[in-house]
């Protein structure tokens, strides 16, 4: 279960950051924000700065770790990568999300469920 204080949007962003890092490997904040913008068609985050708040939370929970490194363009940047605890959390949140999405799908479209 995600943090009880988390809003749905915040929980969703956490899940998206974790999934992005699992999919693409270690990535800097700008890369994560771009990826989420591309996949979410700019519908999920209002601005890129929101990603950094999410990253702080995830680092504090030890679901991701941060290390300074050098980007493809030879710029110094902070790279985030998934931890073992983060992978476990991602699995749990993915299952939870699929279950909720399934239920919501059946609720919103009862005929499809039948």
């Amino acid at each position: 279960m995600p943090d009880s204080e988390s809003s749905i949007l915040q929980g969703t962003l956490d899940l998206m950051v974790l999934k992005t890092l699992e999919h693409l490997g270690p990535l800097h904040g700008y890369g994560i924000a771009l990826r989420i913008e591309q996949v979410g068609e700019r519908a999920l985050i209002v601005n890129q700065g929101t990603v950094y708040l999410c990253l702080v939370r995830l680092v504090q929970r030890k679901w991701i770790r941060a290390e300074w490194g050098v980007s493809d363009n030879n710029r110094k940047a902070k790279f985030y990568s998934l931890t073992k605890a983060g992978r476990k959390q991602l699995r749990a949140e993915t299952e939870n999300w699929e279950r909720v999405a399934g239920v919501m799908g059946r609720v919103l479209n009862p005929q499809a469920g039948n």
Partner: protein
């Protein structure tokens, strides 16, 4: 839960390294903007457009920074920093509270920190500073019945070494004292470790020069060899690298130096000389602290595993082994069992492992509880201040600050005070510990240096302990008044903002003032009596010309020859010579019981006991006040004792001591000793101490290693005496040690050092309680006068006489002071009844209780006088305008 703990840890990291986190964030944002701008340029935007687009995509940086700070826990830090700044400002403004409260907190935190370091180093440490020190253990023979560590027969040591698989490098040591003779240097007595070669393998410290002791050196036929410490090599051999192969004489045996150990090495305890322990002897290894069987736990074996294996191997029956304490062992054979303990624990005391941890916790708890009285006093002052700050809190409350926010603010303000006290306490703890270390170093058992694992320097553990005490002090002194003030005062204060209505003082305030005065009153008589009891010998003197007496110590590993004492007497060529087990004034404390002769309950009491020879009372010029002193009859079969006047006053209710019977209370499980019949009463020697003394006749030539003290009336200069004694010792028996020549007044002064320190500590604590009480009363009066300023102004304007005004102002303060004094007198009386002040080292002072009550009342009146005078002298028009 884990995620929550991780968040807390991250906040603490943020607290410790706020600047670093901020810099990280700035760098990360700069990198983000740079990358976004580069992307914009690639998309064909101009530099300016790319920069603008990057900033728009990122969002408002100020808002983002604030959100990021909140998420990182740094916003909380800002609030804390603001509260701390407010606290510092309040401390500057309320300098009286800062001085009085800070002093009291500093004293108590210092006492607690010293106790913590002391306990931590002597009782809490489980691993010596050796490679894998936590795996080094001691194997002991534990007498569960007598609750004592016993000697370990060397055959058991050999058997354990050959059998046990759970430990390795098993060996043992014992400390002996030998006369060291090096060519061209004065003769000196040194502590030598007789140790198995395995001790050096266990310590894993390579020699600085030469080699370790080897197993071959332990054979009876092997040539005697010795290893020396680095500082011995420096001071006795001028750091000569060719020292290996040179010879020194230890006692009567010439040893060849085979190695020098590196600087700081002092294993097994605090040794600088090491010679091989011969295992072929049929004797026993001394019990700790003079000897220990040591080993290192084998890989993968726990202490419990080693204990289980040792229990199956067991100990040999003690009756088959000749041993120094065989007589005692024979009676307790079944109670003895082998045990494995952490190495440093072996030297702690005659205790079980669990007991020690509890003892340590209880002592620390009691010491920490010392914080409560000064913190309660500070709480009163803080409460007085919070009431006067009602409008400030009410305004903050009205502006949206929660009650908890204001409580936290007050607690942080007190935390600033307690942290300052803690920092000062940490700073002065070190020199105090250095002094204590110097005193402990002089204990005969330690031979001039502390065990190598004891370090009185700074440690994070003591810093954390002090930090914990600071937080505790802030909680006691800040939380109670903060909750009281915000709970009751805020709603009233909200209504009274801007009006002339003032908040009245509540029952809590009155109760705290009464409790404060009561505490000062209750403690004052007992602390004065305790302090006076400790100071009396220094102030009033010993009651006899102690400087006319020379003393010396006679010791050795062997029993004395029957005529040894007479030979020493003859060698000194003086007639005024006497021998005693202890020197006057430094006798050991013993619990005795007295038979009252009627078959009723026996009186038990701690007294100082000494064994003396026939000439003792004659040489010290002590006449019998009743009965007689010792004569020929007492040194045969008859068990007789002589007691002093203090003993009679403390132990014998009717004063008729002669003819009564007295004996030491036996240890748990041991057979009681014989009764001694009191045959005489003598004056106190030394006088003015609070200890009663009992003297019993000493055997002409005591057995065993316990030292005997020589007291000589008149005699030559100490240096001459030392030379003469050395000559006598060499002629009589080279193994005898005759040294420590001092005048008796020096001995008595040294014995007074700890008493004087106790008196100082008591005086400081009492002074701080009094200062706090006075400050509390002053605050009360100031507050009362402020509240009644308008009323006083009207009465003055209407022509009220100053005397009448003063009485009305004093009335409330005096009621509270008087109530406090009454409560305090009742507690003091109960304390006096429960606590026999003379047993605790104090001295009963007639009339102390009324004198203390008058003193407290006077302090109260003086504290109240200033504010009362201000009220009476105030200009009525000003009071009416401001009030």
């Amino acid at each position: 839960m884990l995620a929550f703990l991780n968040r807390i840890a991250a906040r603490i990291r943020g607290f410790v390294r706020p600047g670093g986190l901020e810099a990280d964030f700035d760098q990360e944002m700069a990198a983000h903007l740079e990358m976004a701008e580069a992307d914009g340029l690639r998309r064909g935007l101009t530099v300016e457009e790319a920069r603008r687009a990057a900033r728009v995509q990122l969002g408002g940086t100020t808002q983002l920074r604030e959100s990021w700070r909140a998420a990182s826990g740094l916003a909380w830090l800002d609030g804390f920093a603001l509260d701390a700044r407010l606290g510092l400002r309040m401390l500057r403004r309320s300098w009286g509270l800062t001085l009085a409260g800070g002093l009291a907190m500093t004293i108590v935190i210092t006492i607690a920190a010293v106790a913590f370091v002391f306990l931590d180093e002597f009782m809490g440490r489980t691993a010596p500073p050796l490679d894998e020190g936590e795996r080094v253990v001691a194997l002991q023979s534990w007498d569960a019945q007598a609750h004592r560590r016993r000697d370990v027969p060397r055959r058991d040591l050999q058997r354990w070494g050959a059998t046990l698989k759970s430990v390795e490098d098993l060996g043992g040591f014992q400390t002996i004292e030998r006369r060291l003779i090096i060519d061209g240097r004065p003769v000196e007595w040194v502590r030598v470790a007789e140790i198995t070669a395995s001790g050096f393998h266990l310590a894993r410290v390579p020699p600085f020069l030469g080699r370790w002791l080897a197993e071959a050196d332990e054979q009876a036929a092997a040539a005697p060899v010795v290893m020396i410490g680095y500082d011995v090599w420096q001071s006795r051999f001028a750091a000569d690298r060719a020292v290996i192969g040179r010879t020194v004489r230890l006692g009567e045996i010439i040893h060849t130096i085979v190695g020098v150990m590196p600087e700081g090495f002092a294993f097994p305890v605090n040794h600088r000389y090491w010679i091989p322990l011969r295992l072929d002897s049929d004797t026993s290894l001394k019990a700790a602290p003079d000897g220990v069987v040591f080993a290192r736990l084998a890989a993968g074996v726990s202490l419990e595993g080693a204990q289980a294996e040792l229990a199956t191997v067991g100990l040999l029956p003690p009756t088959t082994m000749p041993s120094r304490d065989n007589a005692v062992q024979a009676t307790t054979a079944e109670a003895r069992r082998p045990r494995v303990v952490p190495y440093t624990f072996a030297f702690t005391d005659d205790v079980e492992r669990g007991e020690l941890a509890w003892q340590q916790r209880i002592i620390l708890l009691l010491v920490s509880l010392l914080l409560v009285p000064p913190c309660l006093n500070v709480a009163i002052l803080i409460y007085a201040r919070t009431v006067t700050r009602q409008e400030e809190f009410a305004t903050r409350f009205a502006l949206g600050a929660s009650r908890s926010r204001i409580v936290v603010q007050l607690c942080v303000e007190v935390l600033v005070l307690s942290s300052t006290a803690g920092a000062v306490a940490l700073a002065i703890t070190r020199p105090i510990l250095a002094q204590i270390g110097e005193i402990i170093r002089r204990f005969p058992d330690l031979g001039g240096s502390l065990p190598f694992w004891v370090d009185f320097g700074f440690s994070w553990r003591v810093a954390l302990f002090v930090a914990g005490l600071c937080v505790l002090a802030a909680m006691i002194a800040g939380l109670v008044p903060a909750l009281q003030a915000t709970g009751r005062v805020l709603p009233v204060a909200l209504r009274s903002v801007g009006s002339r209505t003032r908040i009245p003082l509540g029952a809590t305030w009155t109760a705290l003032i009464v409790a404060q005065v009561g505490l000062a009153m209750a403690l004052l008589p007992s602390t004065i009596e305790l302090a006076w009891g400790n100071l009396r010998p220094s102030v009033l003197g010993a009651g006899f010309a102690a400087s006319e007496f020379l003393t010396a110590r006679l010791s050795g590993d062997r029993d004395l020859r029957p005529d040894a004492l007479r030979q020493i007497e003859a060698g000194l060529g003086a007639s005024d010579v006497t021998f005693a087990a202890a020197l006057p004034g430094v006798e050991p404390q013993t619990l005795i019981e007295m038979d009252d002769g009627t078959g009723g309950a026996r009186v038990r009491r701690y007294v100082r006991a000494n064994q003396v020879d026939r000439a003792f009372f004659t040489v010290l010029n002590v006449p019998a006040l009743a009965g007689r002193t010792f004569d020929g009859r007492d040194f045969g079969a008859a068990a007789t004792a002589i007691v002093d006047q203090t003993f009679v006053r403390q132990v014998v209710a009717d004063g008729n001591a002669v003819g009564r019977r007295v004996r030491p209370v036996p240890a748990s499980g041991a057979e009681p000793g014989p009764w001694y019949e009191i045959v005489g009463i003598v004056p106190d020697r030394p006088a003015n101490t609070s200890h009663g003394r009992m003297y019993v006749p000493a055997l002409p030539a005591p057995r065993g290693p316990a030292p005997i003290h020589i007291v000589l009336h008149g005699g030559p200069e100490p240096v001459v005496m030392q030379r003469r004694l050395q000559q006598i010792g060499t002629n009589l028996d080279p193994a005898l040690r005759l040294d420590d020549v001092r005048r008796l007044d020096e001995v008595l002064s040294e014995a007074q050092v700890s008493s004087s320190l106790t008196s100082c500590a008591l005086a400081i604590v009492t002074l701080s309680v009094l200062v706090l009480s006075a400050a509390g009363l002053y605050a009360l009066m100031s507050f009362t006068v402020t509240l009644r300023r308008r009323e006083i102004g009207i009465r003055t304007a209407l022509g009220a006489r100053p005397g009448r005004l003063l009485v009305s102002i004093f009335a409330r303060a005096m009621k509270q002071i008087a109530a406090g004094v009454v409560v305090g007198v009742a507690v003091a009386l109960a304390l006096h009844r429960a606590l026999n002040i003379e047993v605790e080292g104090g001295w009963h002072i007639p009339g102390i209780l009324p004198a203390a009550a008058i003193f407290i009342l006077t302090i109260g009146l003086l504290s109240a006088a200033g504010p009362a005078r201000r009220a009476v002298l105030a200009d009525p028009t000003e009071a009416l305008r401001d009030g």
